[in-house]
């Protein structure tokens, strides 16, 4: 256990919507070993971001809340911490970067000021020292002209640069866990690769663990050690990246991999999974993917499959792999 940075157990997170209460994260468990990158994969609206927000304790009390489970970070249950204790962990031991770098920085404060903020909050250092560290961080994330960048405002930089700044802010206090929520989605393809490289090399350098949330399997293949596939708030399949890519089990995972364009391989038409993510407010006990599944069976409509270990380290929640198929 000493090797595990984050251990999420039976997490249940609800959101209150106009349509009713929805389980955005439904009985999700996973863990992140030290120094590893775990990827959470799924279509938008499947609860990936809700997992991240739950870990960070950033769910607004008016719009939702964590109803059950444990989130153990280095052995401490984050859900049992007092507000200020959790706050002291945020940006210090656990950091997060977001999907939209353009809007994630405060438009009226300088870049430098925003990098210095977590340093001065968590490390009790002087302003001068913080500025020195901020300049180092700007260099670290691969932007030159640190002094100039320090004094500029967010609107003066490009999306890729801003995401680098977000990474600098996240790394400021040398966190043990970095959560990256779709860090490259809003960026140009060429910039995406640069940001991923940067994240990967920084992770190696600092022996950090990373939880990377994405819908892009290309990203997963590039950086993940372990992959968790989510669908409608549930984990439906997980496994080491190589195994999962080579031998996907769940029809949804298969579909996702098929839908991924492969370079140098001309296809007439890209495969798509028919239908869309179901309305989370009106789910009935069933496999939530059954509506869209090409191999749907009678039982899939009636009972939810449990997640089971397969012999090669993969885990899957699908009736196709249940040995006993009695109702």
């Amino acid at each position: 256990m000493g090797n595990t940075v984050l251990d999420v157990k039976n997490l249940l997170t609800q959101y209150y919507t106009n349509g009713g209460v929805i389980k955005a994260v439904d009985d999700v468990s996973f863990s992140i070993p030290k120094g590893q990158t775990v990827c959470l994969v799924g279509e938008s609206g499947c609860g990936k971001s809700a997992v991240a927000m739950s870990i960070m304790g950033l769910i607004d009390g008016g719009s939702g809340g964590i109803k059950n489970g444990e989130i153990l970070f280095e052995g401490k249950d984050l859900l049992k911490l007092k507000k200020h204790e959790l706050r002291q962990l945020r940006g210090n031991d656990i950091s997060m970067i977001f999907q939209e770098p353009m809007t994630s920085l405060n438009p009226v404060l300088t870049i430098g000021g925003q990098i210095m903020e977590p340093l001065m909050e968590h490390e009790l250092i002087s302003k001068k020292e913080a500025k020195k560290r901020a300049l180092e961080l700007i260099e670290l994330v691969g932007i030159g002209r640190a002094e100039e960048i320090f004094n500029s405002y967010p609107h003066q930089l490009s999306g890729g640069m801003l995401q680098r700044i977000m990474i600098a802010i996240a790394l400021a206090c040398s966190p043990n866990l970095l959560i990256a929520d779709e860090p490259t989605t809003a960026l140009d393809v060429t910039i995406q690769a640069q940001i991923l490289d940067l994240l990967r090399s920084l992770k190696e350098q600092r022996d950090m663990s990373m939880l990377l949330i994405t819908h892009d399997l290309g990203v997963v293949a590039e950086v993940a050690d372990y992959v968790i596939v989510m669908y409608a708030g549930k984990v439906i399949e997980e496994g080491p990246v190589v195994e999962l890519f080579k031998n996907p089990k769940h029809p949804y995972t298969k579909g996702l991999l098929k839908a991924k364009p492969v370079i140098n391989q001309r296809q007439e038409e890209l495969y798509t999974i028919a239908g869309q993510v179901p309305n989370l407010a009106t789910l009935t006990p069933s496999c939530y993917f059954s509506e869209r599944c090409e191999q749907c069976m009678a039982i899939c409509k009636e009972q939810m499959p449990k997640i089971n270990d397969l012999d090669n380290g993969q885990r899957v929640a699908c009736w196709l792999y249940e040995e006993v198929t009695t109702v």
């Binding site: 960070m56 950033l58 706050r87 950091s95 994630s104 405060n106 404060l109 903020e117 909050e121 968590h122």
Partner: protein, 319 residues
């Protein structure tokens, strides 16, 4: 930036020119004048005064005389006070100003505070309560509010003076005088504050609600900043920014006097003087005052843009 200001100043000219035409011709359409209104004058004296004040000239000529004087900074000569209009305005403007300033400070302070709290407690009863108060403040006719306040606090309870600026027959000096004026100020300031608070509170509430939904607020929290820092440093600063424009728009109100409130409370400010001048048809004073407000309005628009440019880094760089 400098070029921009010059350009804007240039744009002001046609607007002010148009305003001067409209003001002059509107007032010259109003029937009756100060000389005719005075019953004690003989026919010869009236003719003399007509000649003296140029009323025998055609209206267009009179306009250009007036405009020429305006450009020289001469707002005209008040018939009622027998003083230059500029001087009359100067005499009464400060009593209007202190009331307007006191209520401005009070209004902004309360509105910002309430705006922040309702944004933080978006779903609470408090927020509903504030919304109701805001709507009530925006629906009250100013003169009626003034009357009710006088009835309650001055007539029925007798706590505060009903009107005027100093107690009649008193000749206080020093602190006594200040205290006396302050007592007379309370009710008019209260009324002006109640009238202004609705729109402004609503504005701050909307702005704060908008800002707290922004991504950078999430980032600030993710950094582990204290909630106080998140709200005030990251939230309020962004919500206040567009309000700078609004603040500049208060300029005419600061110096222009509150006609209705001053009238109701018999406060010797520029607004009450306007009403008085209106009833005796003292046109030079009326026109001068209206022109003065028009200039203030145009200047405050310009000021709003400039201040916004200074405060918002996004605009600052572009110019």
């Amino acid at each position: 930036m400098k070029g921009y200001v010059v350009k804007r100043l240039f744009y002001m000219i046609p607007t002010l020119f148009g305003a001067s035409i409209l003001i002059f011709f509107l007032y010259s359409l109003v029937p009756g004048n100060f000389i005719d209104a005075d019953q004690n004058l003989t026919a010869e004296r009236k003719a003399e005064l007509y000649e003296l004040h140029g009323y025998n000239e055609p209206v267009v000529i009179r306009y250009f005389i007036w405009l020429k004087n305006l450009l020289k900074g001469d707002l005209g000569y008040s018939l009622q006070f027998q003083l230059p209009v500029g001087e009359v305005i100067g005499n009464y403007i400060w009593s209007s100003f202190i009331v307007a300033l006191a209520s401005l400070i009070l209004t902004w302070f309360i509105a910002i505070l309430v705006g922040i709290v309702s944004a933080i407690r978006q779903y609470s009863i408090w927020d509903t309560f504030i919304t109701i108060i805001v709507f009530a403040a925006m629906a009250t006719p100013s003169f009626f509010l003034g009357l009710v306040i006088i009835k309650i606090f001055a007539v029925d309870l007798g706590w505060l003076p009903a009107g005027g600026m100093i107690s009649t027959g008193s000749n206080f000096t020093g602190w006594e005088y200040v205290k006396d004026v302050a007592e007379h100020m309370i009710l008019p300031v209260l009324v002006l504050t109640m009238l202004g608070i609705g729109g402004l509170t609503r504005y701050f509430r909307t702005n704060m609600l908008e800002v707290i939904k922004q991504d950078f607020m999430r980032t600030a929290r993710a950094k582990g900043l204290k909630e106080r820092v998140v709200i005030f440093k990251h939230g309020l600063r962004n919500a206040l920014l567009p309000a700078i424009t609004l603040f500049s728009f208060e300029l005419p109100a600061l110096f222009g006097g509150a006609i209705i409130t001053e009238q109701i409370f018999n406060w010797p400010g520029i607004g009450a003087i306007y009403m008085q001048a209106f009833s005796v048809r003292d046109y030079p004073l009326l026109m001068g005052f209206t022109m003065f407000i028009a200039v203030l309005t145009v200047l405050s628009n310009l000021l709003a843009d400039i201040l916004y440019g200074i405060a918002d880094p996004r605009v600052r760089v572009k110019k």
